[in-house]
């Protein structure tokens, strides 16, 4: 079942860190975002915050970074189809499920690295650390990792069906920004109109941000921490399972 899985993940991760420009870019990007956003938004005038806006935002940005890392996981499969490499994998006896999950897991790896960098930069820039514990940090990583798995599965699934990079890019742009703005990652839900609050409550980004704020900042939550984790776990498992099932039936040259 897992034959060749490690080899598949290794190749994708190597692709990333063996290209120095791309690697450095993905490391710098979260730092730039937090500096630009965190410093340019006014901290006053936003209601419903129990911490400073900078702290609120920088923890919310963890989900933001995970979202943007995951969006690109669908591109890898499209490129592999274009280069013919996907066909090489498909005629070997490794399972289609392993192929699909290798895109998800390699992306999880990238997302975790980016989240770590973002936390380090945010702490250096003044993120509140008074409530931070080892358990809290671990829990925040778990929440973001579950989000990364679920989101990567979504974009990889789209990649199963799209052969053309333009289509994949179009879908990526179509989904990613609305998903970001209709969540509590940048603003608390209390600052949103009622209908948008409902949308945000169905958005997995909100639960990852909420879980990270509760565990890192000790902030009062959108919902209970337990519910956050259950929601994220179900999201990750259901979408991974769905992507495996779809790959068995539809993953083709």
């Amino acid at each position: 079942m897992l034959q060749g899985f490690g080899t598949l993940v290794e190749r994708l991760v190597k692709d990333w860190y063996k290209s120095p420009f791309l690697f450095i870019l993905t490391l710098i990007q979260p730092a730039i975002w937090i500096i630009l956003y965190g410093e340019s938004f006014p901290s006053s005038g936003i209601s419903g915050l129990t911490s400073s806006y900078f702290s609120f935002l920088s923890v919310g940005m963890l989900s933001f970074v995970v979202l943007f890392a995951s969006v690109y996981s669908g591109m890898a499969i499209v490129f592999d189809r274009q280069s013919g490499f996907l066909r090489k994998m498909l005629v070997t006896s490794t399972s289609r499920g392993s192929i699909i999950m290798s895109y998800v897991v390699s992306n999880l790896f990238k997302a975790v690295v980016q989240v770590s960098i973002l936390i380090a930069v945010a702490v250096a820039l003044g993120l509140q650390t008074s409530h931070m514990t080892a358990l809290g940090l671990t829990s925040a990583f778990v929440a973001e990792a579950l989000l990364a798995v679920g989101l990567s599965a979504i974009f990889t699934m789209i990649g199963i069906f799209s052969a053309n990079p333009n289509i994949q890019l179009g879908v990526m742009n179509f989904i990613s920004l609305p998903l970001l703005f209709a969540s509590n990652s940048l603003f608390p839900t209390s600052a949103m109109p009622a209908w948008l609050q409902d949308v945000a409550r169905a958005n997995p980004l909100s639960y990852a941000s909420d879980a990270a704020r509760q565990t890192l900042l000790g902030a009062s939550g959108l919902t209970s921490l337990m519910f956050d984790f259950v929601f994220l776990a179900v999201f990750a498992v259901v979408l991974s399972a769905l992507s495996i099932i779809l790959s068995l039936k539809f993953l083709s040259k």
């Binding site: 034959q3 060749g4 490690g6 080899t7 598949l8 190749r11 692709d15 063996k18 280069s83 013919g84 490499f85 066909r87 090489k88 994998m89 498909l90 005629v91 070997t92 006896s93 490794t94 399972s95 069906f161 799209s162 052969a163 053309n164 333009n166 289509i167 083709s252 040259k253």
Partner: protein, 352 residues
Amino acid sequence: MSTSETMHQTASTPSTHINENKKLIVNVVNLSMTFKLQIKAVDRISLQVYEGEIFGFLGPNGAGKTTTISMLTTLLKPTGGTAQIAGQDITKNASAVRSMIGVVQQDNTSDKHMTAYENLVFTARLQGVEAHAAKKRAAELLDLVELSDAAHRKVETYSGGMRRRLEIACGLVNTPKVLFLDEPTLGLDVQTRSAIWKYIKSLKEENAMTLFLTTHYMEEADNLCDRIAIIDHGHIVTVGSPVELKAKLGGDIIELGVKGEDKDLSELILKLSMVKTVTKEGSLYRIKAENGDEAALAIIDAVRSKGYYVNNILVKEPSLSEVYLELTGKAFREEEPNKARDFFGKTIDFEN
């Protein structure tokens, strides 16, 4: 010419008895593929390939060659029928089939950003070869296809011939029982082509491997293949050894051009005793006759006696190309494959 003729004779002698001595390795039963819009790319084909054979699969573009190979290598699910490869069913046990076959696809499928060595180790690992053995196997195969010197260069720096050799090496990582090659020499120069066939032949001899290949090059099929199937419009038109197929043609082919003709001379030519059939294709007559040289002279006399001039005449001994032309009505040439795009922009290969 005479040397290649004798080679056919010796090569084909065992192949006529192959059915009795050898084990069935690929058994295709009513295999069909109907694409969207009711396009029947492959229509209930059945054929048998025996262990150790080089089996050639020939046909014009759009005949169903690549679709058939895609189904046999489990890249496409058949819409009807099935096939067994070394006893495993391609529809019920695809994974077992994949572990026993090697595939050399028409296009390059290696990762250009990895070295040849890395590509081989990667492919071997996906086929379930354990890490240490995979490295050893990669080195052996690079040696076999004479790429050892370039083993640690990225594939993007390779020439077309080197890439093809790497593709063949990748198809061999799991020491397959059946190696499928889809147009392995397409677009390569003559020297590289003969080098590739040299590897393929030596592989077959050393490993008792069965080869299933498609090619556009009739002479290559004639020289290499123990048996050949010709497919057209999704149907198998004929199967047999090159010698058998040429014998079926029953005589030589004469191509005749007549200057200033104002009526069809077919009937006149058909009256000659040695002539079997006459067909007119454009301005050329295509005549099948028992003794080509004698018949040609008689034809020239007959045409002249009616006051016409022969402006060209060509006597051809039966070749595989002639068999092919006879059965498919098409000269063998390379064309663009028919492709369409589905809703998501994915290419649908109607066949090439």
